[in-house]
């Protein structure tokens, strides 16, 4: 029936429209991962840890690691923000949000790259347990909880024109800054380890923390942060054994 085919075509178009922002957002995240894995495989035979490679190469590797880890979380937030605007602007909102989100992280990454290149001798395994302790302590801090709360602030922005793009970029900057507040300590630990093996563990920690769970006010009962500590410890151990 003609009406049925029109209905199916309309439903298909609606489905594509529904999923397009997600395809864009997660596609960018997947692209970053592919670049990182390709670059890591080239370094695998000559990698000696932070500070032993030319600064530019080390910095690029570090930036790619940060982007790969953060991109999936940023993508999810971008899609959520875009759903609060006009449908015809959703893809643009997603892109602007991700660009804004990248800003604080690129700033953080550049600062840490510059700091590590000035360290002489380079970071040693002594720094790893220290940074692990700092990261574990930061997990349960009130400042970090506030950063976590800001992730869920209402995503309100103008619906049209340049104001829309600027507004979504602003929300992205806010989201990226909150993310830096939450994750800077564990990311420094990852910098010290400079190991792709640690990345999945850290991502799993943050994913577990953000998902809905049965633990009310975990900061009061130390349940979820305790699990985070365990993952940080296991990840550090794995990375140390890997490097050994």
């Amino acid at each position: 029936m003609a009406t049925d085919s029109i209905t199916r075509r309309g439903a298909a178009l609606a489905l594509v429209e529904d999923w397009y922002p997600a395809v864009v957002a997660y596609g960018l995240a997947a692209g970053v991962w592919m670049v990182l894995l390709g670059e890591s495989s080239q370094r695998a035979s000559v990698h000696h840890g932070v500070g032993h490679e030319p600064w530019a190469q080390d910095s690029l590797h570090w930036l790619l690691m940060v982007a790969a880890m953060v991109a999936p979380f940023a993508a999810r937030q971008a899609i959520s923000v875009a759903s609060n605007g006009l449908r015809r602007y959703r893809t643009r909102v997603v892109v602007c949000y991700l660009l804004g989100f990248a800003g604080p992280w690129m700033g953080f990454s550049l600062i840490t790259a510059v700091v590590t290149v000035r360290l002489d001798p380079p970071l040693s395994l002594v720094a790893v347990p220290v940074l692990g302790g700092v990261a574990a302590t930061w997990q349960g801090s009130s400042l970090r909880r506030r950063g976590f709360a800001r992730c869920h602030a209402p995503s309100v922005f103008p619906l049209r024109g340049l104001s829309c793009l600027a507004g979504s970029c602003r929300l992205g900057i806010r989201g990226g800054a909150s993310c830096v507040v939450m994750c800077w300590a564990s990311m420094l630990l990852m910098l010290a380890l400079s190991s792709p093996l640690f990345m999945p563990g850290l991502m799993a920690t943050h994913w577990y923390e953000q998902r809905p769970g049965p633990n009310p006010f975990p900061e009061r009962r130390w349940q979820r942060p305790a699990i985070a500590y365990a993952l940080v410890g296991v990840g550090a151990l794995v990375a140390v054994l890997y490097r050994g």
């Binding site: 759903s83 609060n84 309100v156």
Partner: protein
């Protein structure tokens, strides 16, 4: 022991208006007053004292220090109803324990009934007379509740318990973890009205989330809110509780009359009979509010909502002064049911909602706003009750605005208004004016202070 006794023979929570007054005060209220008196006589540090119990909801000024038992009340999220059910249950047990009557059950204030006599505070609560009336507190309003302020019909029509993000829901929005105020969860239809509205209409302690439980009528009010949850479920499919583990398995802990604590998961408190009580009446109420369109609304709302689509919003923040308005520029929704398929829109109509987002304020001079849409230019909004979208209460607004709070976000269903305006040829699909009027005044502001309530955005969406 106490728990087993209550579970074996469920007691009945009755409407306060239906209690036996042939011999003066009903026995249930005599017992209640005795229980309140006993709670007040306990030192504030005693977990069974009224002060301590009120601090569980929110710390009031006398108790500024932190305590693991305090500041737990859940608002603006899907934990609102189950947490308050637990809170009421423990309070009921404490009263029963103190008066040595474990079979005592909390009455509910049935202001949702048609009888206008029930739209005022029960007489036992309104009389400050002699003999140390433990049920009376100063500061309450004695005025009858306006008809639409106690009307739960719109809330009872909501087809889903909770939504993620924007959405018209019964039990408030989904959030990842419990939080007191100012979360990003949507205030649900029942929490918004009549719950929040009644809090501000009664006034006094009831208008302050940190002091409200100090008013004995708070518990009867929340018993009715808890009953309305059962009324909503009694309407059958699609109205069901969430099945998400993140909701069902969330735990809350309360001090127990035994001196220890009791911990409940949400799934443990979904069957009131198992908890030891049932309500005398869970039939959907006739509310006494005239609305010829209500039958159409009931039919429409049985359909499951689809993903919301924003079609317009204010250009920026909107100051919520009495008589203030915002113009929302709208466009045709791209995902209208049947639109892409080329089917006529008359075959399948979407619901239209107004969403007031991120309402914040620290000097709150208005208790309840009336929200109107499509008021003709130059006309007073109050002269057009048929254009009233709903009520926006500022209960908990200051708490929601402090620190990292996100304020209050609430949706209003305006499908019937849009349909009526279309029928009259007055619906403009490109623009909609939203007007805010004062329904209930708020507390008196300090000298020089001005009402600073502002909405981050007012938007329109289809679902």
């Amino acid at each position: 022991m106490l728990e087993e006794t209550q579970a074996e023979t469920p007691g009945v929570r009755r409407a306060v208006s239906a209690l036996n007054r042939s011999g003066g005060w009903p026995q249930e209220l005599i017992d209640y007053a005795d229980g309140i008196r006993a709670m007040k006589a306990l030192p504030p540090s005693d977990p069974l004292s009224l002060t301590y119990q009120a601090a569980i909801h929110g710390r009031n000024g006398e108790w500024a220090r932190e305590h693991p038992d305090w500041d737990w009340c859940q608002h603006q999220s899907w934990f609102f109803l189950p947490w308050h059910r637990m809170y009421l249950l423990q309070f009921e047990r404490i009263i029963g324990h103190l008066i040595h009557k474990p079979e005592w059950r909390l009455p509910y204030w049935d202001y949702t009934a048609v009888d206008e006599a029930r739209w005022v505070l029960p007489t036992e609560f309104a009389d400050p007379a002699a003999d140390d009336n433990a049920l009376w507190v100063d500061g309450r309003s004695s005025a009858p509740l306006p008809p639409d302020h106690r009307d739960p019909t719109t809330a009872l029509e909501a087809p889903v318990f909770a939504t993620e993000g924007a959405g018209f829901n019964f039990g408030s929005g989904m959030i990842a973890a419990p939080a007191q105020f100012g979360t990003a969860g949507e205030t649900g239809a029942l929490e918004g009205s009549p719950h929040n509205v009644i809090h501000m209409d009664v006034g006094g302690h009831m208008s302050d989330p940190t002091a409200a439980p100090l008013d004995p009528v708070f518990w009867l009010h929340h018993a009715n809110v808890d009953r309305l949850w059962e009324v909503w479920l009694s309407q059958g499919e699609p109205r069901t509780n969430p099945t998400d583990a993140s909701w069902l398995d969330t735990e809350f802990r309360f001090p127990d009359p035994s001196g220890d604590h009791v911990t409940w998961r949400v799934r443990d408190v979904l069957d009131t009979a198992a908890l030891g009580y049932v309500y005398d009446d869970v039939a959907p109420p006739l509310t006494g509010v005239e609305d010829d369109r209500r039958g159409i609304a009931a039919t429409v709302m049985t359909r499951q909502p689809q993903e919301p689509e924003v079609v317009g919003a204010s250009d920026g923040p909107v100051s919520l002064e009495a008589g203030s308005s915002a113009l929302i520029r709208m466009e045709e929704p791209r995902k209208r049911r049947g639109l892409h398929a080329g089917v006529g829109a008359e075959d399948a109509e979407d619901d239209v909602f107004l969403r007031v987002e991120g309402v914040q304020g620290t000097n709150v001079g208005v208790g309840v706003y009336g929200v109107y849409v499509g008021v003709p230019d130059g006309a007073a909004a109050t002269a057009h009750p048929e254009l009233k979208a709903g009520l926006l209460s500022t209960f908990g607004l200051e708490a929601s605005s402090r620190g990292d709070g996100h304020g209050i976000t609430q949706s209003f269903k305006i499908t019937e208004i849009a349909r009526a305006l279309r029928a009259e040829g007055r619906w403009d699909p490109t623009a909609l004016r939203v007007t805010f009027e004062t329904e209930t005044p708020g507390r008196a502001l300090a000298d020089g202070a001005e009402n600073d309530v502002t909405a981050a955005r007012v938007s329109v969406y289809y679902a």
